[in-house]
Symmetry: C2
Subunit: 436 residues, 2 copies
């Protein structure tokens, strides 16, 4: 009692097999036993250092001393619920809402991205009186029963039961592989017309629209940057039909895209509801929903929203420290500069390597799409898997995503440096040479 | 930046009004600004000490040094997800599952009680192929859209839309105020017959039962102890009709009931799924679901369950420390002894005070039902509110619950002592004298 036994990889795998959710996979063919994290690096039990290029949760760097200190100080002092008054909650509510354009001014605190999106569903229903939902194909918004319904990544994947009647799926606005492509300057508007068509057919059938959910950059959809005019056009249609627009920033918020604090700003829109998660607490379980006064007031129907752990003093102290670090270390600007270097160097690699079909991204959110045939854009999932495994043996951690599992996804802690980028590019180039 | 401004109660309330979820109430007419917690005590900004008799989340005491130390150590070392191997996760999975009787042996980690119950819904659906759910009247199982459907406390309260067609509500097995009362020795079985009737009518109509959800002691239902034979009889009916039995221990687990580690053990049953939350991490956002190998395997349908923060190294370190403290400080035995003293002294008070209609509980989970007329058991919500407000001015924190808002709820941190009990009893007696 009181100590944690040090176990071998085989023993840990055995315990997981016997006692842990069998429905949870481990990364890599040779799983890693990670014991320490610092900045953009993870360390295994043998002292090997790995460059973490895939964990966007530890946003300002694993175990950032400033964030840890804030959590440590508050944990020893007080950690209780929001029915009492606390300076930390007031400060954090002020600071967090100040990061958003008008009229986004009211926040709700919860514990996970799933809780945030589930709350967004409730807010939208209260504000609109509708129950019809629109989501984008291949999207993932969370693992609760309700969110699986608007997550084609889940409900159309194995074990899924498809979309229920009240959920309407629009095509992925993917300029590389979708219905309308990079040579079509009106692609964004054309993709948005599918949203409009759903709105119109709901009107005709007398059904009431609640919300259009869209990640501000598409994660499971394949690290996709929305085409120009997509959200602006789609939001107009949704609002014209009485619905509200939800921007899911759980994966991409807090300056990751470089040019802006929030990825929806790339599209020059202001959503009605924004959901925040993963990076918000640098790994501490917390999340938030930001909305307008009008929607928050519509939610005042007598049913209280109380979240046991949401907005507790420790979460607020940690959330504030994350905002401080982003600002003091100018991580948004850093993400822009590092991301631009990475993108332009990857585009050079793309010219040399037939395997790379597309390179896309914003800031430190980048996708590299691998293909076995550039002409027909044939997805190469096996190649992507191989790259990820080979890179792991070169001490660089990556993973794949996208409907065809052929997109290498890059979303490292924001402290990822130009030197890390050089290291990655050199190893990545070597791996491509090796397998091509 | 970097500091948290100290604000007045009025200023904090103003910020909350402008920027925070308006749908969240603050405790007490004169809200408390709490700045510190230690053991069973909370301290306000003026240095006043309050006895916390209502927070079951800070289970082993506010800011328990052992738990804080475990969190602090791990926060500075590593906090990442469960796709890598970690000794803490293996140890905690072993230790936590060892607390349960066979065949409960597989655990899933999540972040909140809501996430745990939402996962239980999914597990039950996978195991049974059914979608019909049975819940107990006035129950509360969480705030997600799916859980509001099985929470009459929410969906039948203000702003609620009632139960959907696939949810079937059975009467609260309340021996004081329900259909069958304390003088009926077969009340438990008679209440369970309502569960059986639902099962039978589902069979007749060809609908498929998924799960029967029941808190092992009823919280929002009014701090109710289940009558003998209730769960045993209900579980038999549910299983006979192909359903699974879910024990929601989010409020009452981890030794609170004194006689056992889990409140379902009071009923001499073994559930198919147990959900854990609030006390599991002493305030750290974490939760778990424990189930059988059979159900876990049925969940292996290809759709992965991954929870970003669930089971991370910090949560596991904290969860282990909580288990250690419960064991080392013998808090379960302590809850039994202190609870018994409290219950017997409250029953003495009941004989002297007409206002007390009923005293009930197990260990440190106690309800005191206030009535304005003992003969007709007329609920006295105003009296209960008054008692709570007056006790707050005597530095003791309580709250009310139950469908009629007339039940004073007692569920303090488990370190609540005999001396605290004496203090409470003396003040409580004085307050009853004052208002009666």
């Amino acid at each position: 009692m009181g100590t944690i036994t040090q176990r071998s990889v085989a023993d840990i795998l055995d315990i997981r097999r016997r006692h842990l959710n069998p429905n949870l996979s481990v990364s890599y063919q040779q799983p890693l036993k990670i014991v320490k994290g610092s900045g953009q690096y993870l360390f295994d039990d043998k002292g090997n250092r790995f460059l973490d290029m895939v964990n966007n949760v530890c946003h300002v760097g694993h175990c950032h001393p400033r964030v840890v200190a804030a959590g440590v100080e508050q944990m020893g002092k007080l950690n209780t619920n929001t029915r009492y008054l606390h300076d930390g909650l007031a400060e954090y509510a002020l600071r967090l809402t100040a990061q958003f354009p008008d009229p986004l001014e009211v926040c709700f605190f919860a514990c996970t991205g799933t809780e945030a999106n589930d709350l967004a569903i409730r807010l939208a229903a209260a504000a609109t009186g509708g129950d019809q939902l629109i989501c984008v194909d291949h999207a993932y918004h969370g693992h609760s029963p309700t969110l699986i319904e608007i997550s084609p990544y889940k409900h159309n994947g194995s074990g899924g039961a498809g979309a229920p009647d009240h959920v309407h799926t629009v095509p992925v606005p993917d300029l590389y592989r979708g219905l309308y492509r990079e040579n079509d300057k009106t692609a964004g508007q054309r993709y948005a017309q599918h949203v409009q068509q759903v709105c119109e057919s709901l009107s005709v059938s007398g059904k009431r629209l609640s919300a259009f959910f869209c990640e501000s950059l598409l994660g499971c959809g394949g690290q996709i940057v929305l085409p120009p005019d997509y959200l602006r056009t789609a939001y107009q249609a949704v609002r014209r039909h009485g619905g509200v627009c939800v921007a899911d920033e759980v994966q991409v918020g807090f300056g990751r895209v470089g040019k802006h604090a929030w990825a929806f700003e790339l599209q020059d829109v202001v959503p009605d509801i924004v959901t925040l998660g993963k990076p918000i607490g640098n790994g501490h379980p917390m999340s938030a929903v930001i909305t307008t006064r009008k929607i928050a007031d519509a939610f005042m129907n007598g049913m209280e929203y109380f979240n046991t752990f949401g907005g507790n003093p420790v979460s607020c102290a940690i959330g504030l420290a994350v905002l401080d670090v982003i600002e003091e270390e100018q991580l948004q600007q850093h993400a822009l500069e590092t991301g631009n270097v990475l993108l332009s160097r990857l585009r050079e690699l793309e010219r040399r390597h037939e395997l790379i079909g597309d390179v896309r991204g914003e800031g430190l959110f980048i996708g590299i799409e691998l293909v076995s045939d550039r002409q027909i854009r044939e997805p190469d999932a096996a190649g992507a898997d191989k790259v990820v495994e080979l890179m792991r043996h070169r001490d660089i951690l990556l993973s794949t995503d996208g409907p065809d599992h052929n997109v290498i996804k890059i979303k490292p802690p924001m402290t990822f440096s130009i030197e890390d980028a050089e290291w990655f590019l050199s190893e990545f180039g070597a791996v491509l040479d090796e397998i091509y």
